[in-house]
């Protein structure tokens, strides 16, 4: 995407030409997918889920990913995070060609460079909020993991809930912990899979504010999977996935 002048929520979103074409990778791309195909299942049950996906997401860009159930949103997210290997095509994330990494390298890469926020929070029930946030830092070998985790929890307003277990926290609080956990290692990219899907509207809004604040303040690239078109509209760019194909470019301004 050119020289990246269009990034940021304040960018000129109505200007299609300021967005790079899918075939124009550049040094400022956070995520670059080229010719990605993926089928899952075996034999007769095999389904071609992702078809010829070409996609570039710029550094610091916020992208909303919309699409009906079964369109392949989650699968695309998994390909971006190295959790699923495509049958063909290349995946370059934060400058690293994921195809070259073996499973363990991918895990370490995820720990350092990608933060994931799940719809169902997925906090580890046997750990306190503080420990949950410290987990990726600890896996990455950070010596000050707990100090940094505490800082991250304060940043999402949970300074008073450090030593609570997930079961002792409300859904919104749990998702805030998950958000702090995703942001703690200062990843280049944050992917969020329907982060408000399990929350009521008010709580969901708070989470979204925090999510965008992190993106803004840290310059993190954000990929947000959602059903909510209004929410997607807050992103710099919106991608639509239909039956494994990307209808791109589509800006919410063009709706």
């Amino acid at each position: 995407m050119g020289d990246g002048e269009g990034r940021g929520p304040t960018g000129n979103m109505n200007d299609i030409s300021s967005y790079p074409s899918a075939c124009d990778p550049s040094a400022s791309d956070a995520i670059a997918l080229r010719g990605v195909n993926l089928s899952l299942g075996r034999g007769a049950a095999r389904v071609h889920i992702l078809r010829e996906i070409d996609l570039n997401i710029g550094r610091g860009e916020a992208v909303g990913l919309l699409g009906p159930s079964g369109s392949g949103k989650s699968t695309l997210l998994m390909v971006m995070t190295g959790l699923e290997r495509p049958d063909s095509g290349s995946v370059i994330v934060a400058g690293q060609d994921l195809q070259q990494l073996d499973e363990d390298d991918l895990a370490r890469f995820r720990g350092k460079s990608i933060g994931i926020v799940f719809q169902a929070f997925h906090l580890i029930p046997t750990m306190t909020a503080l420990e949950n946030v410290a987990v990726p830092l600890e896996f990455a070998g950070a010596r000050d993991a707990l100090v940094r985790a505490e800082h991250e929890l304060s940043a999402v307003g949970l300074a008073e809930r450090l030593h609570h277990y997930p079961a002792e926290l409300s859904g919104g609080e749990q998702q805030r912990v998950a958000l702090a956990r995703a942001l703690a290692p200062n990843p280049a990219i944050v992917v969020a899979d329907e982060p408000t899907g399990n929350l009521d509207e008010t709580t969901g809004r708070e989470i979204i504010e925090l999510l965008f604040r992190g993106h803004r303040e840290r310059g993190t690239t954000l990929v947000l999977v959602t059903h909510d078109t209004a929410l997607a509209a807050r992103c710099d760019r919106v991608l639509h996935l239909h039956s494994g194909r990307l209808d791109e470019p589509m800006l919410h301004g063009a709706k």
Binding site: P25, S26, A27, S28, D29, A32, N56, S74, T75, L77, M78, T81, L83, E84, I92, G95, Q96, D97, Q100, L101, E103, D104, D105, A107, R108, F109, R110, G111, K112, I116, F118, A120, H122, L123, I124, P125, T126, M127, E131, V135, P136, E138, F139, A140, G141, R181, P185, D193
Partner: protein, 874 residues
């Protein structure tokens, strides 16, 4: 876009120490909340470790007790033992110079009640004459410990002479056997003995080994007057030495032992010191405890199935957390490390718990039974034993946990994104398979290495592995068959059959754990039954009725004649008998010979030896030539074949034996195979005639009634012989075998007790598996009830399921156990195997009952649930 390869940076692994600390930290976080879900795991490991630690601790405490009571058991700081001869004047002078000496002479003899004999009671043989174990002591007895009699009286009063009668204290069983009371008289040899008191406690009893008759304690003077001491008669003379208190350190003891050997190299005496008062007893305790340890190891093995189940269930519950950690940067290896650390911590807790309880066992035994068991138990903590048991527990837990732990490596993160069940790998990655195999090998090596008899341990390990493998196959096959059975019309049968093969079925768990426990129990039961049969039923058919000891050589013909008169239909075999010790072979001292375990006994203490001009009955020459009937050349010896192999001796080699204080060297002329089971007169060493010319000796004889003999015949013969030959000892084979059988029964009882613990472990494992499957059962029950199934039908279906699984288990458990017993009996013990049905069937029935009852008890709650409440919460 610039593509940078950050692989090098990503592969910079954290140092191993940091990784281990991280794993432990995460493991600890998960365990903080308690050990919920690990109940069966902990119980299984703790039970197995408890058994191993308990057996080891009790055995070690017993060994300590024997060692610390060494002076009392031995009767002195040192004991010099001679057979068939007394110490020479110079030997005695040597002993007297070093401290206080007490003499104890032991022999076997017939005790007769003076005529008229008490009326013979029908069915009770031997009235009027019975075998007793004589112990004749001097006034210095006992040097250590104290003698307790009932009524309590000083030794001098017990032994005091009353006209022509000597006094004695006797084992109370003699009083009952001969229907006597204190004050009555018996005759031993040629003297009258007045029974002054009953023996309550004889301090040095343990060193004597197994007695075939009740003890009669008399004075040395009485023994000398009895006429039992003849040249060559089997009297053991023990000279116990008490060192002066000022100079009684271990160094003084060792120094005197060395001096004695140096001063009298040919004395042929067996010297024992207080530190090794009863090596035989210590060895027996050690050997027996090792058998028990192998049985206890089986408990761990059975429990291991529970461990595998518990770990798999635990990890199944952690799938989300594991996937999340992987999403946050944990590698598969890191996940394995975290959960392996966690399982290791739990296993350590369980093992330490078990070891702690095991360590308490000797204290409990000493406190509860100290007064009634005849062995000295000195309870103390034995760290070596406890550590070994903990190591066993940890290794077993890991051996069974590594497999499911390895599979956690490959739990996929994608399950967090989409609601689909990814196909599970059945096999973990190769490294985990190799690690599991390595731990199993270490476990096997440890079991073999720490056992006295490596061969027995190796047989155990191989059998356990084979039984385990076969039962695993049986479980798989059962499930395979159940899946392919034609569809049943009856819903009840269909449900039962489906439950046998569905994922998470009880089949593998029950078949493995219960099958293994049952196989062990049946093995022990079958071996027990066969030993019992061999001792009490099979052997006596071909065995002689009597052994006669101490027949004076000069009177032998008169003895033969008398037997022919009183038992005309019997056959008598009589051979000369000397006692001797092997002191060297090919010039190498016996202490330096390293025989295989099976033949070590040959070198221990003195053995019966004989000479013969013809091949002894019951023997067959397998190598070399027998000397001619009229041979009179250099001393030759015929050696039993297996002993020769174990001692690594061949024809032409030399053996030196010490007989009556004289060393005799003979060349091995031939090797024999001996049929030990016929209980005839069998000797490892048979010398050529003339080897011991001039050495005084007596004969021993066996007498076999052609038709087995009746009690009346036996009694009549014994009375006649006892009158005519008061110094000849008659050992009734049936009594001796009964005594052995009694001891055996007690030992096997302990083995059986230990084996039963495996069934407890199996029940635990079954309970755990039932609890794990409870959710499925409740769901099934509720759904089926919704569709109209009655509780009775469901109950029948479950009962049928447990019955079918139980039947398969019992069938193969009994089969494997019987096969193992067959192999052990025919290959190791070397006598024919006969399948004993009764008790094996009992054990099988018990196992079946456990499966069905425990299963139904576990399922009963599922039946009681109301559909609505469950469906609401689905």
């Amino acid at each position: 876009m610039t593509v940078v390869d950050t692989r090098a940076a990503l592969r910079r692994h954290p140092p191993a120490g940091q990784m281990a600390r991280l794993a432990l930290r995460f493991a600890w976080r998960e365990l903080r909340g308690g050990l919920r879900g690990f109940g069966v795991f902990i119980a299984c490991i703790a039970l197995g470790v408890l058994a191993i630690a308990g057996v080891g601790s009790v055995a070690a405490s017993l060994a300590d007790g024997i060692a610390s009571a060494g002076q009392v058991i031995l009767g002195g700081d040192l004991a010099f033992s001679l057979i068939q001869r007394e110490a020479s004047d110079s030997e005695r002078a040597f002993l007297d110079a070093h401290g206080t000496v007490s003499v104890a002479a032991t022999t076997r003899a017939m005790a007769r009640t003076p005529p008229p004999f008490p009326p013979a009671q029908a069915g009770e043989g031997m009235e009027g004459a019975t075998l007793v174990e004589i112990k004749a002591v001097d006034n210095a007895y006992p040097l250590f410990g104290s003698l307790v009699t009932d009524p309590d009286m000083p030794l001098a009063a017990v032994f005091a002479r009353n006209n022509d009668a000597f006094g004695a204290a006797v084992d109370p069983t003699l009083l009952t056997r001969l229907d006597l009371k204190t004050g009555d008289r018996i005759t031993i040899g040629n003297v009258a003995i007045e029974l002054r008191a009953a023996l309550t406690s004889e301090p040095d009893k343990l060193a004597g080994g197994i007695g075939l008759g009740p003890r009669v304690l008399i004075s040395e003077a009485a023994l000398r007057a009895s006429g039992l001491i003849q040249p060559g008669s089997l009297v053991r003379w023990q000279y116990r030495l008490r060192l002066p208190d000022a100079d009684s350190g271990d160094r003084a003891v060792t120094s005197i032992e060395k001096q004695a050997q140096a001063a009298f190299p040919d004395a042929g005496w067996e010297v024992r010191t207080r530190t090794k008062a009863s090596p035989q007893l210590e060895r027996n305790v050690e050997r027996f405890s090792q058998f028990l340890t192998l049985v206890a190891l089986t408990t761990l093995l059975v429990g291991g199935v529970g461990v595998a189940n518990a770990v798999a269930a635990h990890l199944a519950g952690k799938r989300d957390a594991i996937a999340t950690m992987k999403a946050l940067g944990a590698t598969g290896g890191g996940i394995f490390a975290v959960y392996c650390a966690q399982i290791a911590l739990v296993a350590l807790f369980a093992a330490v718990l078990g070891a702690g309880l095991g360590a308490a066992l000797p204290y409990v035994i000493a406190a509860a039974f100290g007064a009634i068991i005849p062995l000295p138990v000195a309870p103390s903590l034995h760290l070596g034993v406890l550590t070994l048991s903990i190591v066993y527990g940890l290794l077993t837990a890991l051996a069974f946990a590594l497999w499911p732990l390895g599979r956690a490596h490959d739990i996929s993160v994608s399950m967090l994104f989409r609601d689909q069940v990814a196909a599970e790998r059945r096999w973990p990655r190769r490294r985990y398979v190799i690690a599991t195999a390595s731990i199993v090998i270490i476990l096997a090596a440890l079991a073999i290495e720490t056992t006295y008899d490596h061969r027995i341990a190796a047989i155990f390990v191989v059998s356990a592995a084979v039984v385990f493998g076969v039962l695993r196959l049986v479980a798989m096959l059962t499930m395979w068959i159940a899946r392919r059975l034609p569809r049943q019309r009856s819903t009840v049968v269909r449900l039962a059959v489906a439950n046998i093969y569905r994922p998470g079925a009880l089949t593998p768990t029950v078949v493995l754990s219960l099958g293994l426990g049952l196989a062990l129990l049946v093995t022990v039961i079958e071996i027990d039954g066969n030993l019992h049969r061999e001792f009490t039923a099979a052997l006596p058919e071909k065995a002689p009725s009597f052994f006669f000891l101490d027949i004076p050589s000069a009177d032998a013909d008169r003895f033969d004649a008398l037997v022919r008169v009183h038992a005309p239909a019997s056959s008598l075999e009589r051979v000369p008998m000397l006692r001797g010790r092997i002191v060297a072979a090919n010039g190498i001292k016996a202490d330096d010979l390293k025989p295989a375990a099976g033949s070590r006994w040959v070198l221990r203490g003195d053995r019966g030896i004989t000479y013969a001009s013809v091949v002894p009955a019951g023997s067959r020459i397998v190598a070399g030539q027998w000397w001619g009937a009229n041979y009179s050349g250099e001393p030759l010896v015929s050696l039993e074949n297996r002993t020769a192999a174990d001692l690594n001796l061949k024809i032409g080699d030399s053996i030196t034996v010490n007989v009556l204080g004289r060393n005799v060297t003979a060349r091995i002329a031939n090797l024999r195979i001996v049929d030990w089971e016929n209980l005839g007169i069998n000797f490892v060493l048979v010398f050529s005639p003339g080897t011991f010319s001039g050495a005084p000796h007596s004969d021993i004889a066996t007498l076999t009634f052609a038709d087995g003999g009746t009690t009346q015949e036996e009694t009549a013969l014994i009375k006649a012989l006892a009158d005519a030959f008061p110094t000849v000892t008659a050992v009734r084979v049936k009594d001796a075998l009964d005594a052995l059988d009694n001891i055996l029964t007690n030992l096997v009882l302990a083995l059986r007790g230990a084996s039963s613990i495996t069934l407890i472990a199996a029940a635990l494992v079954l309970g755990g598996a039932l609890a794990a499957g409870q959710r499925f059962r409740i769901y099934d029950a509720v759904v089926l009830k919704t569709y109209g199934a009655t509780r009775a039908r469901l109950l029948t279906a479950y009962a049928l399921e447990y019955l079918l699984i139980g039947l398969v288990t019992v069938l193969f458990g009994v089969a494997m156990g019987s096969l193992a017993a067959d192999l052990i009996v025919t290959r190791v013990m070397e006598f024919p195997f006969v399948w004993v049905a009764g008790q094996a069937a009992g054990a099988a029935l018990a196992a079946l009952l456990v499966t069905v009852v425990l299963g139904l008890a576990g399922t009963f709650t599922a039946l009681g649930r109301k559909p609505a409440e469950v469906l609401r919460n689905l």
